[in-house]
Amino acid sequence: MITLDSVSKTYKVGTFGGKELHAVSNVSFDVQNGEVVSLIGESGSGKSTIGKMILRLISITSGKILFNGKDIASLKNHALKEYYRQVQGVFQDPFSSYNPIFKADRVFSIIHDEFYPDISSQDWKQKIEKSLTVVGLNPDIVLNKFPHQLSGGQLQRFLIARALLLNIQFLVADEIISMLDASTRIDVLNLLADLKSRGLSILFITHDLSLSYYISERAIILYRGCVVEMGATEKIFYQSLHPYTKMLMASVPRLDMKWRKRVEQQIDRSTQPGGCVYFDRCTAAEKSEHCAKHNPPLVQVDVDHYVACFGYKKED
């Protein structure tokens, strides 16, 4: 459905834009119909940048994003509107997605005016109510309210309902769970899973690994804009190969296991051109001078399991 083909994003930084920051470099992956793919990484790893590029909120520096075989960068006017009919995003902070001066329902009427001017108000109202029921909200309670009168979980589900009004096939869910409380969190997750079983594809961007395991079939681990490991969720979680993935897995706070005592390394965020992006934090025994000079390619090690690490290649 969505295919990313060596997509990169470079920002100009520094006083006169003299320096370059590679937020995303050479990322390729695809999301099939009815599949949930998690994009996992720490802050600054470029996961939101990828989501925004798919939604065409920011431009792509190099590479291509294909939606059903069509390059999305070439879409204009009518074709772009058609694209947004099928692809929508929901973001981390539900409060900042609304204009506090207007009632929260305004997000629905905008969709009505922009995309479905032909539908009568009466039918539209029914459509809204149906969509709200799907996301588990009671229309009588939540409609006609201002954003501050609704809770974070309600606003977040409002936004999902808004996305559902369009016949979307692909949803970019950027950290939509992290602002919610534990008790409502799981409801929103279950809602996503239900939508998935109706054929919706989801790119689930998160830094919480247990949530990603709960919902997704495939996972992609990003580090400093590069894919370091990707594949089926079970393989990523139980047979992780990349030292970064292993470190992440050990850091997840779990209820059935305590953290192992480990010496944390000094984090140095300086970049060295050419070498492995994880070189300065890597604790693997196989780490060598080779890693400092060459960037490991993403290689397939198993069915649906890819890793970018020289340490692995040595073993076989």
Binding site: D181, S210, S251, P253, R254, W259
Partner: protein
């Protein structure tokens, strides 16, 4: 006994009446104890933390006593509390990452802060450097502006700032929420290390993430809608909770190894009551699967086992 809180009740004044955000809270904190304070947003965790150190309007003190190291704290008197703040009781606020003055170098800001407490920066410098070593920050940070540090580094710097005068009690409010897993882990472990080094006696660690508390806390206090629900040692809360809310909360947490397709978790139906005009009795009543007539009266927060407190009629011996 480091901290003792009795019947602490704090409301928020609004134009539409008082919001009853903390009702009759009583608990004790032992020396060296890290107590986790967990609950949904709006349940009064931050109110409880703030009322112990800076009870400013619109917060309104209603009743209750707080004593720290055997000395009663005048928490209702903003001016008199000044003697205790920072020295005896200290806070790492929510969004601590923005707590530092962006126009000052960190060392300069620290010296101004200490001067306001009539303490010499130069005398304390060796200790500051030692503390920076504990949190694995280089000593160069004192010559840097806050903007030059990453989120995790800022959080650790604020931790050094807040605990510099060896307070008896540290209140850490949601300090790990905005961080990603690996940084979260290192910040949480630093808190334990600081406690072990004696930088502070006891800690109230406020968070909504129970799985972090399982890693570092000695005991956990669960709050619901302004009332204390349950307090016990960490293992008891996680493995054998008694309060229905705690049970539902623990079971709704996704764990690594649980998949939607194999084991569907469920949330807690309903929403917490509005605290402007909360229902009589147990405030969890409407969402509780076990509620019965007696729940119309507020259950007392009593000790059912050694160190295990719970506020539920089902667990109260008749």
């Amino acid at each position: 006994m480091s901290l003792q809180v009795e019947n602490l009740t704090v409301y928020y004044q609004t134009l539409r009446g008082d919001v009853q955000s903390l009702e009759q809270a009583s608990f004790k904190l032992a020396d060296g104890e890290i107590m986790g304070l967990a609950g949904e947003s709006g349940c009064g965790k931050t109110t409880l933390g703030n009322s112990l150190i800076y009870l400013a309007p619109p917060m309104k003190y209603i009743e209750g006593r707080v004593s720290l190291d055997g000395e009663e704290l005048p928490i209702w008197d903003l001016a008199r509390m000044n003697v205790y703040r920072y020295k005896k009781i200290s806070l790492i606020p929510q969004y601590a990452m923005n707590a530092m003055n962006p126009t000052r170098k960190i060392g300069k800001m620290l010296s101004e802060l200490l001067r306001s407490r009539k303490i010499s920066y130069v005398d304390l410098l060796p200790e500051i450097k030692h503390r920076l070593d504990i949190v694995k920050l280089s000593q160069d940070v004192l010559n840097m502006y806050p903007i030059e540090l990453s989120g995790g580094m800022k959080q650790r710097m604020v931790m050094v700032l807040s605990t510099l005068l060896d307070p008896s009690l540290l209140i850490a409010d949601e300090i790990t929420s905005a961080l990603d897993v690996s940084t979260q882990k290192s910040v949480a472990e630093m808190i334990v290390k600081f406690r072990d080094c004696g930088c502070m006696k006891s800690v109230i660690f406020i968070t909504h993430d129970v799985s972090i508390l399982y890693q570092i806390a000695d005991s956990i206090l669960i709050m619901y809608a302004g009332q204390l629900a349950e307090k016990a040692s960490t293992n008891v809360i996680i493995n054998s909770p008694l309060h229905p809310y705690t049970k539902l909360l623990i079971s709704s947490l996704p764990k690594v190894g649980v998949k939607y397709s194999e084991d569907k978790l469920s949330g807690i139906p309903g929403t917490p009551p509005l605290l402007l005009d909360p229902p009589e009795g147990c405030r969890f009543r409407e969402r509780c699967p076990l509620a019965f007539e007696k729940c119309l009266q507020a259950p007392p927060f009593i000790e059912v086992e050694n160190g295990h407190f719970v506020a539920c009629w089902k667990e109260t011996p008749a």
